[in-house]
């Protein structure tokens, strides 16, 4: 899950002109997306060469979207890799979902939009989106814009200034996911 190709296909479908950056020098454009694959520790290691570039984008207020692990890496730290430092763009940490239900949560779950003024959810109603994860964000600030229920309330989306994050895979969430992606593309 979190296949870069799926995000690329979904962006193309949404009318964007995506470029997959394999090296920091290839990161350009008016928006960036950090997709999610795998575990926090490994993810930060792979992201390391890109960090100066990401900070540059943050400083110039360029919209950034983190998907799944991409969202998680915005924060300070994660229970998944206790010694690894996150990007620290947002205050708070990533915790394992405290639930009696099965983990990872894999499947379609109901997204409740908590802050309708978030531009990601413009013209979007509550509905089902696709999740694959065992951890979620616990921000210190009031930035949770959507939640879902997996035996406990899960923070499914965050927004602060030009930083956007979805814990679900919008590239695999059917029309609703594509519409959210389109809202990001059209910011």
């Amino acid at each position: 899950m979190g296949n870069v190709r799926s995000v690329y296909n979904a962006l193309k479908y949404s009318g964007a002109k995506p470029v997959i950056a394999n090296y920091p020098s290839e990161v350009k454009g008016d928006k960036i997306i950090i997709p999610g694959v795998g575990a926090f520790g490994e993810g930060m290691k792979n992201l390391n060469p890109f960090i100066p570039k990401i900070r540059q984008f943050v400083a110039t207020n360029t919209p950034i979207l983190g998907i799944c692990l991409g969202l998680q890496m915005f924060f300070e730290e994660s229970e998944e890799a206790p010694k690894v430092e996150g990007l620290r763009l947002l205050k708070g940490k990533i915790i394992k979902i405290r639930t009696k239900l099965k983990l990872p949560q894999i499947g379609w779950n109901y997204l409740k939009i908590r802050k309708e003024n978030c531009p990601l959810f413009k013209d979007i109603d509550n509905g089902y989106v696709y999740f694959v994860h065992s951890y979620h964000a616990l921000p210190e600030e009031d930035i949770v814009v959507a939640t879902t229920d997996h035996g406990t309330e899960i923070n499914a989306s965050i927004w602060k200034n030009q930083l956007f994050g979805t814990q679900f895979h919008l590239e695999k969430s059917g029309r609703m996911g594509l519409q959210i992606l389109k809202n990001f593309v059209e910011l």
């Binding site: 899950m1 296949n3 190709r5 799926s6 296909n9 979904a10 193309k12 479908y13 795998g38 099965k102 990872p104 949560q105 894999i106 499947g107 379609w108 779950n109 109901y110 509905g127 089902y128 696709y130 694959v132 229920d149 997996h150 035996g151 590239e171 695999k172 969430s173 059917g174 029309r175 996911g177 594509l178």
Partner: protein
């Protein structure tokens, strides 16, 4: 809470240049239904929650054709895409993922080399590893020794379930219920459970089989084989806690559209994605 899923399955015959979706009956006779990515896109647009592409040719020479089918399909399908048939190694799995698959489904490789399940799970995560089990009823006879088998009561009499590999061409003597427990231990993310007795005969899913596997493992189970009407899907969701219902012919021959089926099920209290 997670909702139930409706999954159309496309059996792909790659003897054709672009591949053809086919429909077999009891794993044998073949009819043609269309071009894989065209049908997949139609189903996606109609509300399918996931798409399964099965390469029934499963030969080494046709692997590249299958990769092409996956690439074309993933361009227009924005729900999870599961690919099965002929995936034997990590290399095969990686090729499928790079082409746009989200999950791979393995059967023969898992039975012949069970460690393949652990490896796929380790490299790509358990969510990416679906184990397909093709199960055939073996009714109890007096002559056969069934002491090591898990016996399931059915309306037709007590039986155990035998795992089959190579697309139903070879039987293994392995108990399907025991095998399901083992694949969970090895880290599989889901079980795609096909009843060989019901496949293509449109008389409904094998309820005792689906129920038994759902009770014995804590993994999502996809019920497959036997779906001929929307009532069959309702029945399997009401009588078992199975996560998903897979079907082929009722979609291919437009008996019902996915949208109609979902509407029918939702009216009867089944939680589904709209």
């Amino acid at each position: 809470m997670l909702c139930r899923r409706i999954i159309p399955c496309l059996d792909c015959d790659l003897a054709f240049t672009e591949g053809r979706v086919v429909k077999g009956v009891e794993f044998k006779k073949i009819k043609y239904a269309g071009i894989p990515w065209e049908l997949a896109t139609k189903y996606y647009e109609d509300g399918a929650d996931e798409i399964v592409l099965l390469d029934i040719t499963a030969s080494q020479e046709k692997r590249e054709t299958m990769i092409h089918v996956i690439e074309k399909t993933s361009e227009n399908v924005f729900v999870p895409l599961t690919v099965g048939g002929g995936i034997r190694t990590i290399k095969d799995a990686r090729k499928a993922f790079n082409a746009g698959a989200d999950k791979v489904s393995i059967n023969t490789a898992g039975i012949e080399k069970p460690n393949t399940i652990n490896k796929i799970t380790k490299y790509f995560g358990s969510q990416a590893c679906v184990v397909a089990i093709d199960a055939k009823r073996r009714y109890i006879t007096e002559i056969e020794d069934t002491t090591d088998k898990i016996i399931v009561e059915t309306p037709e009499g007590p039986c155990w379930f035998e795992c089959s590999i190579y697309g139903g061409r070879k039987f293994t003597g392995i108990d399907a219920v025991r095998w399901a427990m083992e694949v969970e231990e090895r880290g599989a993310g889901e079980i795609l459970l096909t009843s060989m007795d019901r496949d293509g005969v449109k008389e409904g899913y094998d309820i005792p089989l689906t129920q038994t596997i759902n009770e014995i493992v804590n993994l999502p189970v996809i019920a497959s084989g036997g779906c001929g009407t929307q009532e069959h899907i309702l029945e399997i969701f009401q009588k078992t806690k199975t996560s998903a219902a897979l079907a082929a012919s009722i979609f291919h021959y437009e008996t019902y559209s996915i949208k109609e089926i979902k509407e029918y099920l939702r009216k009867r209290g089944i939680a589904l994605r709209s």
